[in-house]
C-alpha cells in the first residue's frame, strides 16, 4: 500500500527542501520526495497546497484523565489532526497528575483507543501531585513513555529544589520544561485564581480596569533563575511560553554563552496584547498574560535570530461555564491548536519577517528537535507524518467549526486565513 501526495509545494526544513514536488509514502514511511516518483495505489492531489512534515505542539493541556468535560482524547486528537498536527505533547496537570507510570500509561492507552492516530505524548510532572516537594520517578516515567518533565501551571519557586530537579533530570537525560513565574510578584499565579492574585498583565490596561496585574519582571526573574541554574548544571532546560521582552533578552544572553536552554512562544503572545482583555474578556485571560506590543515584537525578533526555538500553543481548554464568570474567578487559558497556523501565518509571514519554510521549521522541525522526538522531517525512512495546508483558504472561527470540546478562544468570530486540508500519521489519513 503506497500513497503519492502530488504536486504540492513541499517544504521540509530538515533537508532545506522547498519546491513543487511529490511525496511518496509506503508502509507508513516516507519513501521519497521529488519528481517522477512513479505510480501509487492512492494519489492525493496537493496542487495549490503546502505539503510539510506534520506539525508538532510540545505544549498542550490534554485534560485527560480527569477533566474530560473540558477536552477528551477524541476531541483533542480531532482538533489536532484538523489543524495539521501529527504529534502533541500533553502537560501533566490532569486529575490525577501525570506523576507515575500508571497515569502515563493511561494517557498513551487512551490515545490508542480513543484517538484518531495523532501521537499524544505525555509530559510528566517534576513533582508528586505537582506540589514541588518530592520528585517523581523520572526513570520509570521515561521508561513508560514520558517525553519530558515539567512544572507547568505550578512553577517551582525554590531555587534549591529547581537545582536538584535539573541534576536529576540530567541523570535520566530528560528535558525540564519550566513555567517561569515568580509567584510572589503575581499573587500566586494559577494558585491565586479567585484568591486575589494577579489576573492580567500589569500596565496601563490593568490600571484602567482595576484588575490586579502580573508584572512582566515576574517572568524575567524566573527565566534568569532557570537559565543560570541550567548553565551551572549543564542540564537541558526548556522555557515554556515566553511572553516578555525581558524573558527573550535573558534567553538570548544565556544562549550566547552556550547554556543548554531552549524556548517556545505561543501565537497569542506574539499576535495579541493586553488590549484584548478590555471588556473583561475572559477569552483573553491566560497565564502568562497577554503583554504589550514591545513584547510581541521582541518574541518575533526572537524567532528571527533563533532565541525562541519554536511555536507551542499552550492549548488550554475550559468549559464555557468556567469562563462565563467574574474575570477574577475565571480560569487561565485559551485553546490554541486550531488557530495556530492561521495566526502564525498572518503575524509572522504575511505581516512579519519570516518566510513559509521558517514557519514550518518553528511548527514542526524545531519543536521535534527540542524534545528529541522522531518527527518534523520528510527524510526517506522517517515515519510518514505529513500535513497539507492551504495558506490562502479563509475560514470563520465559530463554535461549530472548532473540533475542540471547549471554545475558549480570543479569535472567536473572526475570519482567518490558512487551513489544513489533509493530515497523515504514519501514512494513515487522520484528517
Amino acid at each position: 500500500m503506497n500513497l503519492l501526495i502530488k504536486n504540492g509545494r513541499v517544504i521540509d526544513p530538515s533537508q532545506a527542501f522547498d519546491a513543487v514536488a511529490d511525496v511518496l509514502i509506503s508502509d507508513g514511511e516516507i519513501k521519497a520526495v521529488g519528481f517522477d516518483l512513479g505510480e501509487a495505489d492512492e494519489v492525493f492531489d496537493a496542487t495549490g497546497l503546502v505539503v510539510a512534515p506534520g506539525f508538532v505542539d510540545i505544549h498542550v493541556h490534554g485534560r485527560t484523565p480527569g477533566q474530560e468535560y473540558k477536552e477528551d482524547t477524541t476531541t483533542l486528537s480531532a482538533a489536532a489532526a484538523a489543524s495539521g498536527f501529527t504529534t502533541i505533547c500533553v502537560m501533566p496537570n490532569t486529575a490525577p497528575t501525570i506523576d507515575c507510570r500508571s497515569v502515563v500509561e493511561d494517557v498513551l492507552s487512551r490515545a490508542r483507543t480513543e484517538g484518531n492516530g495523532v501521537r499524544i505524548l505525555p509530559i510528566a510532572s517534576v513533582s508528586i501531585a505537582a506540589k514541588n516537594e518530592q520528585l517523581t520517578e523520572f526513570g520509570e516515567l521515561k521508561e513508560a513513555g514520558a517525553v519530558a518533565v515539567s512544572d507547568d501551571a505550578f512553577p517551582v519557586q525554590d531555587a534549591d529544589f529547581l537545582r536538584r530537579t535539573f541534576r536529576y533530570a540530567k541523570t535520566l537525560g530528560l528535558v525540564t520544561m519550566l513555567h517561569c513565574e515568580d509567584i510572589a510578584l503575581t499573587g500566586g499565579g494559577h494558585a491565586g485564581v479567585g484568591k486575589g492574585g494577579g489576573v492580567m498583565n500589569e500596565g496601563q490596561v490593568s490600571l484602567e480596569m482595576g484588575l490586579r496585574g502580573m508584572p512582566r519582571v515576574s517572568e524575567e526573574l524566573a527565566v534568569y533563575k532557570a537559565c543560570a541554574l541550567a548553565r551551572d548544571e549543564g542540564a537541558r532546560v526548556h522555557i515554556l511560553h515566553v511572553s516578555t521582552k525581558g524573558g527573550v533578552d535573558v534567553v538570548r544572553a544565556f544562549k550566547a554563552i552556550g547554556a543548554p536552554v531552549t524556548a517556545e512562544a505561543g501565537p497569542h503572545h506574539f499576535a495579541l496584547t493586553d488590549e484584548a482583555v478590555r471588556g473583561y474578556n475572559t477569552g483573553a485571560k491566560m497565564n502568562p498574560p497577554l503583554r504589550t506590543l514591545v513584547d510581541c515584537e521582541a518574541i518575533i525578533a526572537g524567532f528571527v535570530d533563533g532565541t525562541i526555538d519554536c511555536i507551542a500553543t499552550d492549548h488550554a481548554p475550559h468549559a464555557a461555564r468556567e469562563k462565563d464568570r467574574e474575570f477574577d474567578a475565571a480560569p487561565f487559558g485559551i485553546i490554541g491548536l486550531e488557530t495556530s497556523l492561521p495566526i502564525s501565518l498572518r503575524t509572522l509571514v504575511e505581516r512579519g519577517p519570516l518566510d513559509l519554510p521558517s514557519l514550518v521549521f518553528l511548527m514542526s522541525t524545531r519543536p521535534a528537535e527540542v524534545l528529541e522526538i522522531d518527527a518534523g522531517t520528510l527524510q526517506p525512512g522517517a515515519r510518514a507524518d505529513v500535513c497539507a495546508f492551504d495558506p490562502n483558504e479563509r475560514w470563520a472561527v465559530t463554535p461549530e467549526v472548532l473540533r475542540s470540546k471547549s471554545k475558549n478562544t480570543p479569535w472567536m468570530g473572526q475570519t482567518l486565513t490558512g487551513r489544513a486540508k489533509a493530515t497523515w500519521v504514519a501514512g494513515k489519513r487522520v484528517f
Binding site: Q204, M209, G210, R321
Partner: protein
C-alpha cells in the same frame, strides 16, 4: 439618553455627565421638600445586589429608588444562594425572572457589573445594571456625586484644580473621579507614595506627585481617599503614623490650598489618618454634603436609566 446601564465613567461623554448632574440638582430640590416623594419610577422594580458590605451606598440607592416610588428589594449575599455556590449569572436570571428591571450591584471583582449587563436581553429578560462599586475598578455614582458637590460649591468643573491624595492604586472612587473629571476638563493632580500611585497614571492627562504639600498647593478641591486597613502596615506603607505624617490632611497642610478650597472624602473616614479631626469637622469640609448629594445623584441615574420620557425601551 439611550444608555441602558451605568457601568463606569470611563466611557461617559461630557453631555451625559452634564445631564446627570443637572437632573441631580433638580432631585436635590425634591429632597428638600416636606414630602419627599415623586411617582417617576412607580411600578419599576429595583434590586440592590451587594456582594460586599456597604452602608451608605446601599442605603443611598434604596432611598433614591423609594423617593421615586420604585419597588425595591435587596439581596444580602451571606443569606443568599450565592453562598451555596450559585453563579452571578444564575442569581441575576432568577431575580430577573421574578420581575427585577434594574440591578444595583456591588461586587469585589472588577468587571462583575459588566458581566451582569452582558446577560440582559440574552435569556428572555431585559434589565439595567448600575455599578455600585466593583473591585478596584469604578464607583461611578460616587464620581458623579463628587462632581455634583464640586459644581455646587465652585459653579463649574472645567478649569478647577483638583488634587486626589492617598491610595490611588486600589481605589475605585479614584478611578471614577479621574475618568469623570478629565472628561469635564478639571486640572488633576494625583498624590501618594509610589507604592500606591502607579506610574501608569502618567499616560493620562494628570499631574503626579509624591509630595502632599505640593499637591495641595493652589487647589480648589482637596480630595482624600480612604486607606483600607489591610494596606496600613506592610509593604505598601510602613505605618499609619508615617502615612498620616506624609499624606494626611491637617489644618496646616490645607492652608496651602486656595482659601475657599473645599475638602472632600468618600467615607468612611479614618479620623487622624487621611484627615485630621479639626479639618474633617471644619468649615471647608463638605463630606456630609457629599452624602446628601449621593441620594440626588442616584435618583438622577435611576431616573435616566429607567424612567422619565426617554431611555425606557
Amino acid at each position: 439618553m439611550k444608555r441602558k446601564h451605568l457601568l463606569g465613567l470611563q466611557d461617559a461623554t461630557r453631555e451625559e455627565i452634564e445631564t446627570w448632574l443637572e437632573t441631580a440638582d433638580a432631585m436635590r430640590e425634591v429632597l428638600a421638600r416636606p414630602i419627599k416623594k415623586t411617582p417617576a419610577l412607580r411600578g419599576q422594580s429595583v434590586c440592590t445586589l451587594f456582594f460586599e458590605p456597604s452602608t451608605r451606598t446601599r442605603a443611598s440607592f434604596e432611598m433614591a429608588a423609594k423617593t421615586m416610588s420604585a419597588d425595591t428589594s435587596s439581596l444580602t449575599v451571606a443569606a443568599s444562594s450565592v453562598s451555596k455556590g450559585e453563579t452571578l449569572k444564575d442569581t441575576l436570571l432568577t431575580l430577573a425572572a421574578m420581575g427585577a428591571k434594574c440591578f444595583v450591584i456591588r461586587h469585589s471583582s472588577s468587571g462583575a457589573p459588566e458581566l451582569a449587563a452582558s446577560y440582559s436581553g440574552k435569556f428572555g429578560f431585559d434589565f439595567s445594571v448600575v455599578n455600585a462599586g466593583d473591585g478596584q475598578h469604578e464607583h461611578p455614582t460616587q464620581g458623579l456625586l463628587d462632581m455634583m458637590t464640586m459644581r455646587e460649591h465652585k459653579g463649574q468643573i472645567e478649569g478647577l484644580n483638583v488634587c486626589i491624595i492617598g491610595d490611588l492604586l486600589h481605589s475605585r472612587v479614584a478611578r471614577s473621579n479621574v475618568f469623570g473629571l478629565l472628561t469635564m476638563g478639571a486640572n488633576l493632580t494625583l498624590c501618594g507614595p509610589h507604592t500606591l500611585l502607579p506610574q501608569e497614571f502618567s499616560a493620562m492627562n494628570v499631574k503626579m506627585t509624591t509630595n502632599a504639600d505640593e499637591a495641595v498647593e493652589g487647589a480648589d478641591v482637596v480630595m482624600t481617599l480612604r486607606l483600607q486597613n489591610e494596606r496600613m502596615n506592610g509593604a505598601y506603607l510602613p505605618s499609619v503614623r508615617e502615612f498620616a505624617r506624609l499624606y494626611g490632611i491637617n489644618a496646616q497642610r490645607l492652608k496651602r490650598a486656595k482659601p475657599d478650597a473645599i475638602l472632600m472624602h468618600p467615607g468612611p473616614i479614618n479620623r487622624g489618618v487621611e484627615i485630621s479631626d479639626e479639618v474633617a469637622d471644619g468649615a471647608q469640609s463638605v463630606i456630609l454634603n457629599q452624602v446628601t448629594n449621593g441620594v440626588a445623584v442616584r435618583m438622577a441615574v435611576l431616573y435616566h436609566l429607567l424612567g422619565g420620557n426617554e431611555g425606557n425601551e
